[in-house]
């Protein structure tokens, strides 16, 4: 059970916080790449085939942003026009009133002083001026034109942005597809050594979580980075064209943004680290206590377990709320700085307007620009972290791609068409770790049809034999030959087809029973599959299943029993019809009746084939031509049953304790 949990947890993915993710900007610690530049360049290399599309995306992103940036300034013109219109209207009304008054005064000779006449002329000139500029009305014709321009600008901007994102969808996903494919192909070239030394969850996580992380960044962050950058630059340029002084004042708020983000990020780092640590401890405790629930209950440790949990939980809370608070402050602070800019623009802009330095529409444009400014800055701060975590992900994926591969087949590697099944070990040396030799100078000579029994305590290293025979691992010295040919001179595919494996850890996949058996032979017909199943005594149970041969094995293959799985594996071996067999007789977790079937099927399968048997049955051992006694991975004795008993060594002791265990028990107990 605990194994399953571990597996599942490993597959859920790495602990939280490993990927900065979209929410990762709030001061959360981000995993950093070891070689940022190198990995970055390599990742960019993946985008190369899409170069043309990418350039289009970039151009469109820039265009879309630029058109958008022109908006506020143009809109400001409309506002200014309205403002001017309304101001002239007011002025015109005043002037007309004054004109009326003055005309009356001028008409009366008593009051028609030169001063009055002079004023009247001035007023008239003013009226004429207003009439000539906008007729004392809002110039709706002009505004109409502006609005048409704006509609065009915004439509184009939206269109370009849409096309850009539309194309990017293909670019990003195709790149990721290629990356996944490369990883998968790499996995097929990696030696078994790699798989045996890694946790599956880690490999899985690189192919799924890390690649997903890259996919998201490509899809969203890259164009976002471009548009943010263009927006910031564009907005600054537009603001400069309106008023350099006001722009300067607004730009002064920029360092505040940077200050706030860096200070908070630095301060929160500590709490996030604490939080992460407590969370890890908490998860560990929960996992252990739930996994060992039976033991906790058996030994009455519930109270202690809850006590420990509460302590960790308290620590998690203490660190957690502080981390949350500090990162929660970022948004309000950003908004405050943005508001500060707003106030400055309103006040300074207002003063500038009264002085006639800029127009009211300019102020409005500035207000819009300052708010357009804030988002990209927050986004850029965000993106920096996202890119860091993406590069870290890419680095992990590339690490996988850089793993050392299997030695490829030599050019003149041959194919044994009709293998006899004679196996020879000549002075073979082998070790998994350089300083711990396992097999030294091993010599065996196996004739066609012989049975070699491997015995020893559990975990004695039976996989080692499989690893060497099938060339999953390379030997350090000597050679292994089949029919006199060194296995290193045989094509790997051919070599492996000479062997058939029936091991206890059966491997079946999510598919029908038919497909699972047919796995043993490419292009097997239905008839062949059924014959193989019959030979393996599996036909009967398969037929009792609701869908027969078309029954789909579920993902965890829990819908058939362990014994039935073993029968399917045997059927698979029958179908493959190999010259040499590697068998594991162990049948734990199998009910007695199925066990008998498995034994029968194995016996039939072994007939006429050279067989290496991990032996559990005494009859197999005694009848074997050769017994290899293994302990802790190395072969310590070999010979046939009689020879080994006469030797009175490890085998003799093992044999006695195993089968005459009861006697030993009594002797010692006295």
């Amino acid at each position: 059970m605990s194994e399953e949990i571990k597996k599942e947890r490993a597959e859920i993915g790495p602990p939280m916080g490993r990927h900065g993710g979209p929410a990762g900007f709030a001061g959360r610690p981000v995993e950093k790449a070891k070689d940022f530049k190198g990995t970055f360049i390599r990742l960019v290399g993946y985008l190369k085939p899409q170069k043309f599309k990418l350039i289009v995306v970039f151009i469109f992103a820039i265009l879309g942003t630029v058109f958008n940036i022109f908006g506020p300034k143009t809109l400001g013109k409309a506002t200014t026009k309205i403002f001017e219109g309304i101001m002239s209207k007011k002025a015109l009304a005043d002037l007309l009133a004054a004109q009326d008054k003055l005309t009356k005064l001028a008409a009366d000779p008593a009051t028609a002083t030169p001063k009055v006449l002079d004023s009247l002329n001035q007023v008239k000139a003013g009226i004429a001026k207003i009439m000539s500029t906008n007729g004392g009305k809002i110039d709706f014709h002009y505004i109409q034109i502006i609005i048409l321009i704006l509609i065009t600008l915004y439509l184009l901007s939206a269109l370009f942005n849409y096309i850009q994102q539309y194309i990017m969808a293909g670019v990003a996903q195709k790149t990721v597809y290629k990356l996944r494919k490369d990883v998968d192909e790499k996995l097929s070239r990696l030696p078994l050594k790699f798989y045996d030394s890694r946790i599956h969850g880690d490999i899985l996580s690189r192919v799924t979580n890390d690649v997903d992380n890259i996919a998201n960044t490509l899809q969203q962050s890259i164009t976002q980075l471009i548009t943010s950058f263009v927006t910031i630059i564009g907005v600054i340029i537009m603001m400069l064209t309106i008023s350099p002084l006001l722009t300067l004042i607004v730009i002064l708020t920029l360092p505040l943004y940077i200050l706030v983000t860096t200070v908070i990020a630095r301060r929160s780092q500590k709490y996030f680290a604490h939080q992460q640590k407590s969370l890890g401890e908490l998860n560990g405790h929960v996992e252990e206590m739930y996994g060992g629930h039976k033991i906790v209950k058996s030994f009455g440790h519930e109270k202690e377990s809850i006590e420990t949990f509460n302590q960790i939980n308290k620590r998690l809370y203490a660190a957690g709320w502080k981390a949350q608070f500090i990162s929660g402050m970022i948004m309000p602070l950003m908004r405050f700085i943005s508001n500060l800019g707003y106030v400055i623009v309103s006040v300074a802009g207002g003063i500038f307007v009264t002085r006639g330095i800029i127009t009211i529409g300019n102020v409005q444009a500035f207000i819009q620009y300052t708010s357009q400014f804030t988002m990209p800055i927050i986004q850029t701060a965000n993106i920096a972290n996202i890119i860091q975590s993406t590069i870290a992900s890419a680095e992990r994926v590339f690490e996988l791609l850089d793993e050392e591969e299997e030695i490829p087949d030599s050019k003149n590697a041959m194919v044994l068409k009709y293998p006899e099944g004679e196996v020879k070990f000549e002075n073979v040396d082998f070790s998994y770790k350089a300083d711990e030799p396992l097999i030294r100078n091993m010599n065996i000579d196996v004739k066609k049809g012989h049975t070699i029994a491997i015995v020893g305590p559990t975990g004695a290293g039976k996989t080692t034999l499989v690893n060497l025979l099938m060339r999953f691992y390379e030997i350090n010295g000597g050679k292994i030959t089949i029919d006199g040919v060194d296995i290193r001179d045989i094509k790997r595919g051919n070599l492996r087809s000479i062997f058939g494996m029936v091991l206890q850890d059966t491997w079946l996949f999510n598919g029908t029973i038919m497909e699972n058996i047919a796995y043993g032979k490419e292009g097997a017909t239905e008839g062949e599959v059924i014959n193989a199943a019959k030979a393996a005594h599996a036909d009967h149970f398969i037929k009792t299943l609701p869908e027969g041969y078309n029954t789909v094995l579920n993902e965890e293959v829990t819908n058939i029993s362990q014994g039935q799985k073993q029968l399917l594996t045997i059927a698979r071996a029958f179908l493959a019809d190999p010259a040499i067999l590697i068998l594991d007789e162990a049948t734990s977790n199998v009910d007695t009746r199925t066990e008998v079937l498995i034994q029968k099927a194995m016996a039939t399968l072994m007939k006429g084939r050279t067989s290496f048997v991990i032996a559990h049955r005494l009859s197999t051992i005694r009848d074997a031509e050769l017994i290899l006694v293994m302990n802790q991975g190395s072969i310590i004795e070999m010979g046939n049953h009689k020879e080994l008993l006469a030797k009175k060594g490890f085998y003799a002791e093992l044999y006695n304790s195993q089968f005459l265990g009861a006697n030993l028990d009594e002797q010692q107990a006295v």
Partner: protein, 575 residues
Amino acid sequence: MLRLYRFLKPFTFFIIAIVTLLFIQVIADLYLPTLMSNIVNNGIINKDINYILRTGGIMLITAAVGITCAIIAAFFTSKTAVGLGKILREKIFTKVEGFSLSEFDKLGTATLITRTTNDVTQIQQVTVMIFSMMITAPLTSIGGVIMALRENKSLTWVLAVVIPILAAIIGTVLVKGIPLFRLMQIKLDKLNLVLRENLTGIRVIRAFNRIDKEKARFDYANADLMENAIKVNKIMAILMPLMMLIMNFTTIAIIWFGGIKIDQGNMQIGSLMAFIQYAMQILFSLLMLTLLFILVPRAQASSVRINEVLDTKPEIVDPQKPVNVFEKRGVVEFKDVTFSYKGSEQPVLCNISFTAVPGEITAIIGSTGSGKSTLVNLIPRFYDVDSGSVMIDGVDVREISQEVLRAKIGFVPQNIIIFSGTIAENIRYGKKDATMEEIRHAADIAQATDFILKMEGGFDHYISAGGTNVSGGQKQRLSIARALVRKPEIYIFDDSFSALDFKTDARLRAALKPEIKSSTVILIAQRVSTIMNADKIIVLDDGKIVGIGAHRELLKTCEVYREIVYSQLSEEELA
């Protein structure tokens, strides 16, 4: 999800504070455009610089009030949301520790772990979002509409047109997009499945030389995923540009119709500018609210899972008046016990009756699925029987408190469980106050001393989580030592010698013998050699006792026993 918020009760004050503070903050933020509009209407038009500066000052104060409120609200929010997480975790963990094995079977260990950890974190994060965004967004929309109405009533119709359009578009894209997102998850799972199978079956794939076929299988899943992802992203590509377009067109409409109103003398220029800003704030808040549609369903799934745990009632509870006085010591008696697992039709155990007494070894043998482990699980009351009764020391286990009952038992389960900690700590788990002497003694008997002393630090050697740095056989011996140090009345060994090699097995059993003289031993084994010397052997087949007696007796009388024995031992050895 609302049901989980019942645990927010201790935070009532905080929540009231958060809402109030955020309300003030929203008002402050919304007041700024009005002040700006005053600057335009009164300051600029009248060229009153003093007025402009004064109003600017008020704006600064307003902004400062806003941020102060927001930060205090953030403080309360984090205390509340993280506090909720803490309470939830505590409740779930305490609840789960009270579960019997049957609840564990029902829910599954792996999901219980995710429910206690990831699901709570999910709720915690969404709560933060709800408190910050989901409160401010509606407040801002409503407040924005009120302010817009104040600036100009008749122009508000623009909003009345735009808001439904916006809602409709967001709705359409979500309705179209969400099924595709779901499909994408399915395809991603499929890809991961292929990958996982490739990893676990690597030897078989290579042995059968099917690398190319597996590559094709992966490639198919990969391409399928890619096509779907492209489709989803192409649909999503329209969302943001369209949103921006709507906002920009809203601005244009306000300028145009506002211009007309100004011309008619119904509106002031500053109000127009403020109106634009209010419209933007409202539309942005609405966009924020759409996050709700994405976030809440995710949290909903988590909260359903959490509630399921909290609503589960443990089946096994202590009796009201537990029996504390026992007349006998170490006697285990099954009286016509029938038991079936939840949801299965067939009983696992049928009419089981036997007695095990101190000083005797009672062995249980039978094929897999015959009910051996189930039988011993009934003794510490991990499950309750359907009918009949399990008696310990003359008392039905249902009348004894679980603590007292289990204190009588030293249990060594089939699946070896070792906790992270030192070796000594692991053995001491059996007896909280065990001295070092007792621990050493238990290790000696369990044949563990040899390997313990070889390890760095000996008894202080640290075992990592899951016990990855000790072998299966070593773990099994530690697990036996843990039961031994307890010196219980009853020992239960559930196939506890399987990972030991035959020699160690024999030695351990020999050393065990004097140790357990005054105790009752119940032992399950697969190997005949392990049990053939037991005082009493119970042969189980298909949940029924088909034979009970000593080895030689059973060989004569019990067909099933003979079958088992013959499959393991040859005739010479039997002779």
